[in-house]
């Protein structure tokens, strides 16, 4: 599939967001590694769509629960589809592998992915997370790393059918949450401030059914998970 040119606004929004994340992580003594420049992550897809396929490695993610002789890394793959006419997101799957390096061995401790499809399936929450067993199939040498991750000790097999509703967890949201979870309050507050305007520039996804459900009749004054299945009733 051939790389194609996207509007500079789109590339630069992703670039700016990733760079702010990188700065925040480096401030916490971590490293953000990219496999491929952003420009090469946009490829032509079917029906006048564009696929964005992006890999990021967070090396040395601060983790208060790990002893200092171990290191937490996070491998992320974002597979997003944009509609070329509007440059809005129609699909997004962001895969995460949480990896621990211990005694020179790298092992996954948790694998999950956040999923969204504009043509949402019945019985699936509009945006959801699933715990899975599969490692992201990617050679870490593209990041300049020598390790090959091993699968988790503990299987998530029984969890796989469970889909937990989430908000928009496209790439930017995932990085946002990682910053909140791991970088400490002060650093997160700075990051939050710096990405506020960048978030508005990123491609958006349409969530009409969910939005309508949330703003619906006066009887519905809650934020319950049923809203995340509103597309099934539309």
């Amino acid at each position: 599939m051939s790389v194609l040119t996207v509007p500079y606004d789109v590339v630069s929004a992703y670039e700016s967001f990733v760079e702010e994340f990188r700065k925040a992580v480096e401030g916490a003594d971590g490293q953000v590694l990219l496999a491929v420049p952003l420009k090469s992550c946009f490829v032509r897809a079917e029906r006048d769509n564009v696929n964005f396929d992006f890999y990021l490695y967070l090396k040395g993610c601060p983790c208060s629960k790990l002893p200092s002789r171990k290191r937490l890394d996070v491998l992320i793959r974002a597979k997003e589809t944009l509609e070329r006419k509007s440059w809005s997101l129609t699909r997004s799957t962001v895969y995460l592998n949480y990896l621990v390096l211990s005694n020179a061995k790298l092992r996954a401790i948790r694998c999950l992915h956040f999923d969204f499809d504009e043509m949402a399936q019945s019985g699936h929450p509009f945006f959801h997370v699933q715990l899975v067993d599969s490692l992201i199939p990617h050679d870490l040498r593209t990041f300049g790393l020598d390790h090959t991750p091993r699968p988790p000790h503990q299987s998530n097999h029984e969890w796989i059918p469970s889909r937990i509703p989430t908000p928009d967890m496209t790439l930017a949201s995932v990085l946002y949450c990682l910053a909140a979870d791991h970088l400490g309050d002060e650093r997160f507050a700075q990051f939050e401030e710096r990405v506020r305007t960048i978030q508005d520039r990123l491609p958006v996804l349409r969530f009409d059914a969910l939005k309508q459900s949330l703003g619906a009749s006066k009887h519905l004054k809650h934020f319950k998970s049923s809203h995340w299945y509103a597309h099934s009733r539309a």
């Binding site: 051939s2 040119t5 509007p7 500079y8 670039e15 700016s16 420049p37 420009k39």
Partner: protein
């Protein structure tokens, strides 16, 4: 831009000096070229450090208010300044916030451009002919004059609270401030530009900021493709063979992206990469090649990777100065500006220069 530019020339060989003065005057057309030869000093003044003496002399007629200093790197034969090198002149220039270009009148090697002296804190001109060097020096002088003249307005806007935002405003491209900021990551050179105490006046601070921004623009943003792209990098990014990209009808398709800011060089044009992207994506085509074929027709080749000619390129090797593909090159090296995402090093070059290039 101010109407009259003044270039002060430091050249210790008389014959070279008169040739250069002639070439500079031809390029400046109405500006002033003042060779650094005639000055008076008292005996006690002449016993001081060279940098102090030069700084004082430069503040007196006929040298005062210079737009640019142009200095030979070896000034050892200078009367009254035996053994002088460009370092003392550069020190004086830094103190007075006057931009300086230095040169060595030997033919530059092919390796000069990429390994060249960007750490020195001033512009080092490569040498081809006297005429070409004079042309580049005048380009630099005009560029710095434009920056100095446009800076006050950019600095009055309080939202321009970083060098990247200031430069983006001066270039008329505030939307590229984030990208420009990525050219400063890891750059320690800026620390030496901070004015010494006691605090300088506003005018002097503006001149100093113009120097800093000018060096940054010349030696980083215009050197490493990412925000701006030279001809080969533009062709590679657009996926148009360089020889085809040179054709006027194809150039015309991308005219709107041509860089016309400070230091714009008609012999070595550059383009705004962001505007190139928008021109292509605005037409609903995949790349510049598709747009060129649609707009101009005829046989237009894709831009071939210089390592594997069966592959389209897309990137630019800073050492070979040729188009290169992602798969046949290395990027993201720690010494490359982070904003220069189109700049890479081809694998053969990387193997040749091995450990020096790092990761």
């Amino acid at each position: 831009m101010p109407t009259k530019l003044k270039v002060v020339l430091f050249e210790d060989t008389e014959s070279t000096r008169s040739e250069l003065v002639k070439d500079l005057r031809q390029q400046l057309r109405g500006g002033e070229v003042v060779p650094f030869v005639d000055f008076r000093e008292t005996e006690s003044e002449a016993r001081r450090m060279y940098e102090d003496r030069i700084a004082d002399i430069l503040q007196r007629p006929p040298y005062a208010s210079a737009t640019l200093l142009l200095a030979d790197r070896n000034l050892a034969k200078s009367p009254n300044f035996l053994g002088l090198s460009v370092n003392a002149v550069a020190g004086a220039a830094r103190r007075l916030a006057i931009p300086i270009c230095s040169y060595a009148r030997q033919q530059a090697t092919d390796e000069y451009e990429w390994r060249g002296r960007w750490q020195e804190g001033h512009i080092v001109l490569s040498y081809e002919t006297d005429e070409e060097m004079a042309r580049k020096a005048v380009l630099a002088a005009k560029g710095f004059a434009t920056l100095t003249s446009n800076l006050p307005k950019a600095l009055r806007d309080k939202s321009n609270d970083s060098p990247a935002k200031v430069l983006a405003a001066v270039l008329g491209k505030p939307e590229y401030a984030d990208k420009i900021a990525l050219y400063s990551v890891g750059d320690q050179n800026r620390l030496s530009a901070i004015p010494p105490k006691p605090k300088e006046g506003k005018r002097q601070r503006t001149k100093r900021m113009a120097c800093f921004l000018g060096y940054w623009l010349w030696d980083s943003l215009l050197r490493y493709p990412g925000l701006l792209v030279n001809e080969t990098a533009a062709a590679s990014h657009l996926n148009i063979a360089v020889k085809d990209f040179r054709k006027p009808r194809i150039r015309a398709v991308f005219e709107k992206a041509l860089y016309r800011g400070p230091f714009a060089d008609p012999r070595n044009p550059q383009w705004w990469r962001g505007i190139l992207d928008d021109i292509v994506s605005g037409k609903g085509v995949d790349d510049g090649l598709a747009l060129a074929r649609k707009a101009v027709g005829g046989k237009i080749d894709f831009c071939r990777c210089s390592v594997d000619r069966s592959r389209p390129a897309g990137y630019y090797c800073i050492i070979s100065k040729k188009p290169v593909s992602l798969e046949n090159s290395k990027g993201g090296l720690s010494w490359l500006p982070r904003g220069a995402d189109l700049t890479r090093i081809s694998n053969p070059q990387f193997e040749e220069f091995g450990p020096w290039l790092g990761t």
